[in-house]
């Protein structure tokens, strides 16, 4: 293998793939990227056996060939090479070494045989469809904060991508929850997605996909089956295994008859929560919302006797209510609000609260209160 490529082109591709590679590996080959040069470009493959990402970088190929090299080291080297440089990669010296040359810099990396590199079997995909990039971003970005990090309920460690039940209008919907809060977002159902199985996309795949979607506006080709999903984003292709589990029946926990409605400017509310919660410095991070007609009082106190409160004018007239929340959860949610106003629908201090974005009826959030 021998090729020359521009530093910026190679760096971009490396950025796309390197983060899939785990920092520590028990299987040495998993620390490596596969580089494969063919005619007009080099394709880079990274995998952790659950996710595989392939990206192509344009290159002037002098000699076709393939090898594997340490991913993070290669990325760090290319990152530190001067902008605008021309990088030459070559395995001509020896089969188990790759030389990197740019200007007067020389590097040699150890290589492992490509035969050892695990290939992700693609298999058959039962459904495939094209989603506008903005829609896919929305499905992921507005829900991923609620993904659980706790491993015993593994089926919550991802985003549940599915089409709603027949009694609801058709859509492509994503849901994530960690058992304390829940986020649900919809977009128009793309052609070809009807009847797709509901799938749980693992957190890491979700985060990698978002990375690939940065500065990408073309529609994304999605293909999925019961146990795999593939996103084709421009030249990059991410294939991931899915979480093999049953996502809980989340519709049961979304309240439908909460009658205490509060409407509030999203930005002002978020800022006030952020300010008041400065006090609740411990891990509990509790904040109290005290509602009365037209007025919301946010308050917090700390074990060290510090306290804070702030009043906000709100659109509310459903009787006095005190309700506590984890301020982190509230802020995670307000981060997703884009409209001028957000709407809280509450029942009482011990039941789930429904939050929606004023201008966006297709995104909603459920927050379980905290007893304080």
């Amino acid at each position: 293998m021998k090729l020359t490529t521009e530093r910026s082109v190679l760096l971009k591709s490396l950025q796309h793939v390197q983060s899939v590679v785990e920092r520590r590996n028990t299987i040495p080959i998993l620390s490596n990227l596969m580089l494969s040069a063919e005619d007009t470009g080099v394709s880079l493959t990274a995998t952790d056996m659950d996710i595989a990402v392939i990206d192509k970088a344009a290159a002037e190929v002098h000699q076709n060939g393939a090898t594997t090299a340490p991913a993070h080291m290669l990325y760090d080297i290319v990152r530190k090479l001067p902008e605008g440089g021309q990088i030459a990669l070559s395995t001509e010296g020896a089969a188990d070494r790759m030389d990197i040359r740019e200007g007067r810099s020389n590097f040699t990396l150890p290589c492992l045989p490509i035969e050892d590199f695990p290939a992700m079997t693609e298999g058959e995909f039962s459904h495939s469809f094209a989603v506008p990039a903005a829609d896919l971003k929305r499905l992921i970005e507005k829900t991923r904060f609620a993904i659980s990090t706790e491993e015993t309920r593994y089926y919550l460690n991802g985003i549940y991508l599915h089409t709603p039940a027949d009694d609801e209008p058709p859509a492509l919907r994503s849901v994530a929850t960690d058992g304390h809060r829940l986020a649900q977002v919809e977009v128009d159902l793309p052609d070809g997605a009807a009847g797709m199985p509901g799938v749980i996309v693992p957190r890491k795949a979700v985060n990698e996909t978002i990375k690939l979607l940065e500065d990408h506006d073309e529609p994304v080709e999605v293909a999925l089956s019961e146990n795999k999903i593939r996103f084709a984003i421009g030249a990059a292709v991410l294939t991931s295994k899915l979480i093999d589990g049953t996502f809980p029946d989340y519709r049961r926990v979304i309240p439908s008859d909460n009658d205490k409605v509060m409407q509030i400017p999203g930005k002002a509310f978020a800022d006030a929560v952020d300010r008041v919660s400065t006090i609740s410095s411990d891990k509990t991070r509790a904040i109290k919302l005290s509602l009365e007609s037209g007025k919301l009082t946010l308050s917090a106190s700390s074990p060290e006797q510090a306290s804070a409160s702030e009043e906000l004018s709100v659109d509310y007239d459903s009787g006095a209510l005190d309700i506590g929340f984890n301020s982190r959860y509230v802020l995670d949610m307000t981060d997703q609000i884009e409209g001028d106003h957000m709407r809280f629908r509450m029942a009482d201090a011990a039941s789930p609260t429904l939050v929606s974005d004023g201008d966006d009826s297709r995104a909603l959030y459920v927050l379980m209160p905290m007893r304080v």
Binding site: T177, H180, T284, R285, S301, P303, N326, R371
Partner: protein, 596 residues
């Protein structure tokens, strides 16, 4: 197929012996207990070849008559159940099994002279065959000799440990029984060597008990033990609890007695662990000797053949009493740390040969570099006036007055990590990070206790599958757990529904937590895991929120740290059980320099 038949008496006895007399030490225990029950004032035990060739116990108790001797080696014969009531056991023994069991597996000879009788009688038993009583010579009391133990059961003989191991086990038996009865003198002679010699101790109960404990558990324990004497609901708890900084790698030096009977009871161990929780590192064990006295009908000792376990009618109140009393004593001890630490510090300081002794130049007079030499000179002239003194006096308090405090007046800081304070009769070295960590931690815990634990409700309640009894046990404790922020309810047979979790734990592994709780309930009937988890988080936060090593403190800060340590309970050790300070007495220091 063989026909059913009743086993002959000698076989029954040998089978019983298998349970009661599992090793020589067990036989010794039975014999010494008999001697105690016989009202002896002095008990002498002799062991030959680890008890294999000889176990002899001589007492000066009330003895037995000729007729009683013959009865004594018959199964289920005892003098210790006067009204046939197993619910009212006041003696150590009661089953009437020991002597016949021993007789069944050895050559046993009993010599006894009843009090007031003018003659002693001897009875021999060999492998269960009882001979006739013969006249013998002996002072008042009883002498029991067991020779060739287990010769009738060769299989058991093969499983004997080395003579040394058996002799050590025997010594443990005597020591334990002796701890409960300071009014009786004990001695043990092993292969001609006197290994234990405990004289009767005089005086008031606690005093004589401490003297006996000192003889058995050592001087370190006696010097660093807190007296415990409390009673509630007809249960009296006395004894001594070691300071948390005096710890061991195992629980071997934890002695528990119920009505004078040494027991190894899980409930009591659990209570001790609970009381020392967060005072001692997780895998260290405090030294302790506790004596529980309660009405005989409130405890069932007839649970275990060797009576090592007991059952309480009201385990909750026994547990509560122990935890409460220990906590109270430990809180009262405040900032005390074990003197053994000072001893270790002195030991570490001593071996430096004079020629190589190059003291690290300390930063005591950090604003007066030149004064270091001066200081060395001044050290010979007590009372000291070190350079830091004027500084300490700045905040208005005369340094002399500060020296009256237990932790004294701060004189300086070494390596920006250790505070040196002078007391009336010594000096104190404080690890500033460890000490401050404890202070912050205690403050956090009391704040947490005052405010209650905030609970995050679950949007999707979590079902935890357990075994049926585990789930039931947990459900029975639901109230207690709710106070700590975990709200559960039964969810069919063998499952628990978790509705709310302590917000402090963040996104916690609910399954693991609930299982740990269930396991702990099953094992020691308490739920400290949750408390420990919460404390652990407080501990981590305390660690981050406290003054680090390497931070320079001024005199006011140092003195305020010392005063706060004196005022804070349990400040003698950090959250991990390490000592927060070492105190060196002037006398120790003088000894270090050969002045004494």
């Amino acid at each position: 197929m063989m026909a059913l038949r009743l086993l002959p008496e000698h076989l029954v006895n040998r089978i019983a012996a298998g349970e009661v007399i599992e090793r020589p030490a067990a036989a010794l225990k039975e014999l010494v207990e008999n001697a105690i029950d016989a009202g002896a004032g002095r008990i002498e035990a002799v062991l030959g070849d680890g008890g294999r060739s000889l176990i002899a116990v001589v007492d000066d108790g009330h003895g037995m008559s000729r007729d009683e001797l013959a009865l004594a080696v018959t199964r289920h014969v005892t003098s210790k159940l006067p009204d046939d009531d197993l619910g009212n056991i006041r003696c150590l023994g009661f089953r009437g099994e020991a002597l016949p069991s021993i007789g069944a597996v050895s050559r046993l000879s009993l010599t006894s002279r009843a009090r007031g009788a003018d003659q002693a009688w001897r009875l021999s038993v060999a492998a269960g065959k009882v001979g006739d009583p013969a006249p013998a010579a002996l002072g008042p009391g009883t002498r029991v000799e067991v020779r060739d133990l287990f010769y009738a059961t060769p299989a058991r003989l093969k499983f004997m440990k080395s003579a040394r191991a058996e002799a050590m086990a025997a010594a443990d038996v005597i020591n334990q029984l002796a701890m409960a009865r300071p009014d009786i003198g004990f001695s043990l002679v092993t292969d001609g060597r006197a290994t234990i010699r405990l004289d009767t101790t005089q005086g008031e109960l606690m005093e004589s008990r401490l003297a006996r404990l000192k003889a058995v558990m050592g001087r370190d324990f006696a010097d660093n033990a807190l007296a415990i004497d409390t009673a509630r609901d007809g249960i009296r708890l006395t004894g001594y609890a070691g300071l948390p900084t005096l710890d061991r790698g195992n629980a071997r030096l934890q002695f528990l007695f119920v009505n004078g009977r040494p027991v190894r009871d899980k409930l009591i161990y659990g209570a001790v662990r609970g009381a020392y929780q967060d005072l001692i590192a997780r895998h260290r064990h405090p030294l302790i000797a506790l004596f529980l006295e309660l009405a005989p009908d409130a405890v069932d000792v007839n649970v275990h053949p060797a009576k090592a376990e007991v059952r309480f009618r009201e385990p909750g109140s026994v547990r509560g009493l122990i935890v409460g009393a220990l906590r109270h004593a430990l809180d009262g001890a405040g900032h005390r740390t074990a003197t053994t630490i000072a001893a270790a510090a002195l030991g570490a300081a001593r071996p430096a040969p004079p020629g190589l002794f190059a003291p690290p130049v300390a930063a005591i007079g950090r604003h007066h570099p030149a004064s270091e030499l001066a200081e060395a000179a001044v050290a010979y002239q007590a009372p000291l006036a070190p350079p830091a003194a004027p500084e300490a006096g700045k905040d208005g308090e005369p340094v002399d007055a500060l020296e009256d405090f237990p932790l004294g007046a701060a004189r300086g800081q070494l390596h920006d990590s250790y505070v040196i304070a002078q007391t009336r009769d010594g000096l104190v070295i404080v690890d500033q990070h460890a000490a401050h960590e404890r202070l912050v931690y205690e403050r956090m815990k009391s704040a947490l206790a005052a405010a209650g634990v905030a609970r995050q409700m679950m949007l999707i309640p979590e079902v935890v599958e357990l075994d049926a009894s585990g789930a039931e046990r947990l459900a029975a404790r639901a109230d207690q757990l709710a106070e700590l922020g975990l709200v559960i309810e039964p969810f069919g047979a063998g499952a628990i529904l978790v509705r709310e979790v302590p917000a402090l734990l963040g996104s916690v592994d609910v399954q693991g937590l609930v299982r740990d709780l269930a396991d702990e309930l099953a094992e020691i009937d308490q739920t400290s895991v949750l408390r420990e988890r919460l404390d652990e988080i407080c501990g981590t936060m305390a660690c981050h929120g406290s003054v680090r090593a390497g931070r320079r403190l001024n005199a006011a800060e140092m003195n305020s740290l010392l005063r706060e340590m004196e005022a804070t309970p349990r400040s003698g050790q950090c959250n991990h059980g390490r000592p927060t300070y070492v105190e060196l007495k002037l006398a120790d220091i003088e000894r270090l320099f050969g002045r004494r």
